[in-house]
């Protein structure tokens, strides 16, 4: 699954911002400490922003889920 890698500064700016009414950006960290957003969110960013990010394979944080 491909996601958009963003910087922590970008994540801080996006967190809690609406990209469509009542739907908010939700940047998270992957297992490697990369901040990421989904491609569904990325399409609502500016072209300049979208061109600045790297697309990477999503690697979730592994937990021993209960």
């Amino acid at each position: 699954m491909i996601v958009a890698k963003i910087t922590q500064e970008q994540a801080d700016k996006l967190k809690g911002v609406q990209f469509v009414p009542d739907n908010y950006f939700n940047p998270i960290e992957d297992v490697n400490g990369n901040w990421i957003i989904s491609l569904q969110e990325l399409v609502h960013c500016s072209v300049e922003f979208a061109n600045s990010v790297e697309l990477i394979e999503y690697e979730p944080i592994v937990v021993n889920f209960i």
Binding site: D22, N26, I28, I36, I37, L39, Q40, Y58, P60, F65
Partner: protein
């Protein structure tokens, strides 16, 4: 004097139904009538007073699906949903709100320790999952709790991706606070209900599929219920179950009859929308 006789009929809407219809922007008369009928049925079957929050998720957008049928104000205090991360919204036969496994969940703003009298011994939470027999993820569809220790945990998992586990957590997951089995098809109406310290049931499509008469420990966390994921309290990894949802509910515990009637009302309503 000539008298004019008007044909047709006038529908008198339940005031709560009318408030929801207005907030959600429902204009089709068939859909408005279906909502009205559902609201009246919820009241006549004694379910309305058991609901703290309930959401019709096939209205086509976050902005139209966020409203709590009990109080359709656009405020946190009314438990209006906030959709975080990647969601898709669909109408029609398979209409619903579809979460993604990466970063989607809903904030309900409903605090389980302060906005209901005794969550541990008297609560329900549930949803209708559609379209996908296998959700993505290894977490929960709804819940709040300590995902590191399992004490306490309150939540439902209808079918985890790897294990196929179907779970209802109602306290300490490793001390009599969990009922679980294996699920084959994750579509349907799921309601987890606790009506007493020793009365816990998971219903699917109105029928009890898991039951426990055990008493579990568990201190209700001071935090809010999340939908499409477990709210990790204290903070930790967010564990999700991603699928398409057409309804979501939480509130006081439901009896078997109430769970069955609620399921019928939900299905009848959703079929008409």
């Amino acid at each position: 004097m000539r008298k004019f006789v008007f044909g047709g009929s006038f529908t008198s809407f339940d005031p709560d139904a009318l408030a929801y219809i207005t907030a959600a922007g429902i204009t089709d008369i068939t859909k408005k009538t279906a909502v009205n009928t559902a609201f009246l049925d919820l009241k006549s079957f004694g379910i309305w007073s058991k609901i703290k929050g309930a959401y019709i998720l096939k209205n086509g957008s976050a902005a139209n699906s966020k409203f709590n049928i009990k109080n359709p104000l656009d405020t946190d205090a009314a438990f209006r949903l906030s959709f975080l991360g990647a969601w898709g919204f669909y109408t029609g036969t398979d209409g619903g709100a579809e979460s993604g496994v990466i970063n989607s969940h809903c904030e309900t703003f409903f605090n389980v320790s302060s906005q209901i009298e005794d969550w541990h011994n008297d609560h329900h939470m549930g949803f209708k999952a559609i379209l996908y027999t296998d959700p993505e993820g290894e977490g929960w569809n709804v819940g709040i709790g300590n995902t590191a220790t399992g004490d306490p945990l309150y939540g439902i998992a209808n079918k985890r991706f790897t294990s196929d586990a179907r779970i209802y957590d109602f306290g300490n997951s490793s001390n009599n606070g969990r009922i679980t089995d294996t699920e084959t098809d994750a579509r349907g109406v799921y309601i987890g209900s606790t009506t007493a310290s020793n009365n816990h049931k998971l219903y699917k499509d109105g029928a009890s599929v898991l039951t426990s008469t055990n008493t579990s420990s568990g201190t209700v966390p001071n935090g809010t219920l999340w939908f499409a994921a477990m709210n990790p309290t204290p903070a930790g990894a967010v564990l999700r179950l991603a699928t398409r949802y057409s309804f979501f509910t939480f509130g006081y515990g439901l009896t078997p009859t109430e769970a069955a009637n609620y399921t019928t009302i939900i299905n009848t309503l959703l079929a008409a929308l």
